[in-house]
Amino acid sequence: MYYLIFTSYGAFLLDYNGDLSLENIKYYKIFPEEDIPKIMYDLRRGNLQIVDKLKEEWNLKDGEKVIVEYLEEEPTTPGKFVRENVYTLGKRYGVFNSYEEFIEKTNLWTTELTKLLMKEASERKDKLIIQTVSALDDLDETLNLFSERLREWYSLYFPEMDKIIKKHELYAKLVSQFLKRENYTRTKLKEFLPSKTAKILSKAAKSSMGAELSERDLSIIKEFADQIISLYNLRDKLVKYLEELMEETAPNLTKLAGPSLGARLISLTGGLERLSKLPASTIQVIGAEKALFAHLRLGADPPKHGVIFQHPLIQSSPWWIRGKVARALACKLAVGVRADVFGNYIADELLEALNKRVEEIKRKYPEPRKKTSKKRKEKKEKGKKKKKEDKKKKKKGKKSKKGKKVIGKTSSKW
């Protein structure tokens, strides 16, 4: 029986029927050193062309049975023998001269292999992120639609509740739990609602103007509400899954932007790597394409932020510095994403620098700047027009389109 045993630097074919010594090595192949990480990578990915290649090289007939230990669930005796002698064999065939060299080379090869494996891991994962974000969007749309339907439907029976319970998820839960009007008692409702709302709702249930519906009519409504609840549960699961994925794939981005915003940026650009190649100025306005093109074509105000507007740092800032904060944030995001692609973790430093910068902006601009005087405004307008025309001339000398320019109203000049 033949056994094919892989080591990091080569492959050995042993003829084994009970006794073992170096004599059992029938054939061997030492890999070229520069190929080793790739060969190990192929093995790990289940790419086994190398096995066929070796068989051919060693002239093994098809009928010959060869056990490839790498694919077995249990170790084999020849495999153990080779593993006991990894260094000795390598030395014998001139792969290393000293034990130290053996360790250093192994470290080098496995590091390269690990990098190859990790690269693939993050490449595949960003596609998963994109799908998950899209699924969440679909789900939100569907949930709104279904919830609206449930409200309309159940309102035939208990119209007052529609106004009292605003949250869709809660509404569906209440329908599923109580269903019949006589079940809406204050004590029971208190488990789900603040006592004030519970009081109002129970009162409304007692004197409802809704039509009477039969058991059969109501039970199908309950079924529908149950489905909505299960969709909400699915949504929660997706959100949690997305968070885990993001933490794994893009830790810097996740720390800086949060999982949902980070995921959205990846999904809008079509991948982590593509996102990492974008300049910060582009990241700043991702998601505001319409406004950006309106600005470029028609001379409207440029957008200050795209989806990164969702970031709490921007939302919590007063309007007159949001543009600045967005720019600072976009810069750090751009750096962070690049670090993600190359496998470094630098988010803590970035976040610190960002917070510092935002503090600085807040200190520097405590209140909105007053409108400039008329004279200066005119001056500015002239300058702007001139600049615009220059730019357009550069762009293949296109005729400058006269769009509906609204100048002087912008809040984004500075």
Partner: protein, 226 residues
């Protein structure tokens, strides 16, 4: 400051403030791995081994009697994480390889940084449940150290021992009761795990409860006698 060797290449370091500390000789002086304290005594740099961050250090401080990791021991380390304990293990074995398996690519990134400086740390991104997938890298070893928070951690140790552990070699396993079963009594769990290990081929020779450094954790040492 005084130094006393308590195990092969493991030192007790007395800095004079009454706290009992252990440390290892730094293989790459002037480099820190996880922000640990570094002291220089008679020209030799020691890295203080933090028991709050490393279960092996905690076990040593709590009176581990059998310490199988020595100078020159080849080690298979399952669950390398960011490299806190592996870096000290690498210090102890000096010029023998420490094959370090870690499952999460995210943490592997940090671990790779540690491997850059310590050439005897061999990084392996892989699943400890599937020893065959790294059988072409790992050789037969003297010690397997396992610290993976998995439900079947005892089985994982046995599986890997079958592939890589020399007969008479040692298995060290950090058992986290809470990751096996949250509600069960930890004592009960340790008993179960001990049985699984014994049946699998390990003769348990030492067992240390590492309270107060970690709660419901036990470090077991066994000899492989399949």
């Amino acid at each position: 400051m005084k130094v006393r060797e308590i195990f092969d290449n493991v030192y007790e370091i007395d800095t004079g403030d009454g706290v009992r500390r252990i440390g290892t000789k730094s293989l790459v002086p002037s480099k820190r791995v996880y922000g640990e304290r570094v002291v220089k005594i008679e020209g030799v740099e020691y890295r203080i081994w933090n028991p709050n961050k490393s279960k092996l250090a905690a076990a040593i401080l709590k009176g581990l009697k059998v310490m199988p990791i020595k100078r020159g021991s080849k080690v298979l380390y399952l669950g390398a994480s960011a490299g806190t304990t592996p870096s000290h293990v690498a210090d102890i074995v000096e010029y023998a390889p420490v094959y370090s398996v870690e499952f999460s690519p995210r943490i592997m990134r940090e671990f790779l940084e540690v491997c850059k400086d310590r050439k005897n740390l061999i990084p392996i991104l892989g699943d400890a449940n599937l020893p065959n997938t790294y059988s072409n890298i790992v050789e037969m070893v003297d010690v397997i150290y396992e610290d993976v928070a998995q439900v079947n951690q005892a089985e994982i140790l046995i599986k890997n021992a079958k592939w890589f552990l020399k007969e008479g070699g040692y298995g060290i396993i950090a058992i986290k009761a809470r990751s096996i079963d949250v509600v069960k009594d930890p004592k009960e769990i340790f008993k179960e795990q001990r049985e699984i290990l014994t049946e699998g081929g390990f003769k348990i020779v030492d067992e240390v409860d590492i309270e107060p450094f970690e709660r419901d954790h036990v470090l077991m040492v066994g000899i492989w006698q399949p």
